[in-house]
Amino acid sequence: MRNRNHLHRFHSMSAALLGVFFFFAIIGVFGLRWAITALAGFVLGAVVVCVAFPTEDVES
């Protein structure tokens, strides 16, 4: 159980770091056009996740 929690935490942190790296790399390295595309893609992805996975009613 403990290992599973640690693994879960590791996955979450990896996802967060990858997301930061991906987004900052695109905005910092590839210039405005790619940054706009990345922003639109990220916002769309975030909205889809927030709408498609409403966790508020899930029993924890």
């Binding site: 967060a16 997301g19 987004f23 390295v29 590839f30 922003l39 927030c50 966790t55 899930v58 924890s60």
Partner: protein, 473 residues
Amino acid sequence: MKLDPSIVARIQFAFTVSFHIIFPTMSIGLASFLAVIEALWLKTKKPIYLEIYKFWLSIFSMGFGIGVVTGIVLSFEFGLGFSRFAQMAGPAIGPLIALEVLTAFFLEAGFLGIMLFGLNRVGPKLHFFATCMVAIGTLLSASWILSANSWMQTPAGVAIQGGHLTVVSWRHVLVNPSWLYRLPHMVTAAYLTASFMVAGVGAWYLLRGKHQHFARRTLALGTAFATVLIAAQVFIGDILYGTMLKHQPSKMQAAEGFWEKQSQSPAPYLWFIVPDQNNQRNRFQLGTPYLGSIWLTHSLDGRVEGLKNTPRDLQPRMGMVFYAFRIMYCSAMVMFAVGVASLWLRFRGTLFSSRWFLWILVFMTPSGIVATLAGWYVAETGRQPWVIYGILKTADAISPVPAPALWSTLVAFVCVYAVFITAFLIFTLRIIRRGPSEVHSYAEASGSLKNAFRPYVLDSPGRLLTTNITQRS
């Protein structure tokens, strides 16, 4: 010890404006958040949204009150500490501040009473209208003030005649080169501040096992808003960086921590420096190889311009600008990481049960305020030694007031503001500790605009005054 009045005047203004900006940042963000929540309540008629509204309305009102009071002080300080600035820049700055009062303050003052005390007295749609007007008022206020401050950063539309400024184009004064980017940057910062506050309080209740329904809804809303907003903020910030590099190169040179006219190739991205301003070098520096070239020049071997490109007497203090910029930038990175992690946890269905993440959200509650303050320090210390960039130096803008007089007023400000912040923290923490009360929707969403404008009676929930009068007669 002989005190320099220009330093004391700057310390005083820095203290009062730093204290002030915390509260408008919160109120701009919370006002729009409240408008969204009230709209959700009117649309869904779910009492949870009214509960959220009432809870955050109390905190908003305290922050709003302190923000207004501490903002008025700043106008007086133009006379107290910077009268020569007021004398010279008055023709451009004065009307902008007056317009803020005429539009934003009047709008807010007109509708704030209805927003705070009218929930049981007016119909829900009129109340929603009042909330929207207050939210628009806060945005208008930000717009005028950012216009004035951005004009000081990138002055335009004026001519200097006999040591006085004359406005030749109001359009250029208002829409000066940096305003279009600094306004959305600040407004997004305010929204982010509110989002992390809301998410942090929700996380705290979940950790304590209290108010589960309220906590889940606020945490879900807060993290969703924060995730989208931080992505937009990084993007806006990047564009603003390019604009400021063009108009105020010395600020961005100081923010990157390089001294030489051209840095080494490839340039590292510096995370930690010990600057030596007198000898124009870093005593120690720590950075990531190549990253400076990649991020700042978009090439693998690009060179970054250093502060020696700016004449020595026109350089800002590098340490302050560099670390303020790093705090803001690192805060944004952490916020972004938290946003992405929240998406992942939402996807996995464990957003409300991952205690480690809830603790992170609790610690992130004031992160928006920290980042906003750091951003303003970059803007203001990076502009030095100018108060109006390229036109008036800060040292020439100071009032002919002796330093002890400025110290005494500074001490008075510190004492009064200590009372303000103590009262704010005590009452806010008390509201959070008590939690959202069990509220009933006295002003029920009727769906009729006609009924919305009819008054309600405080002690007769859901009943119209007219009905009451008819019954009595």
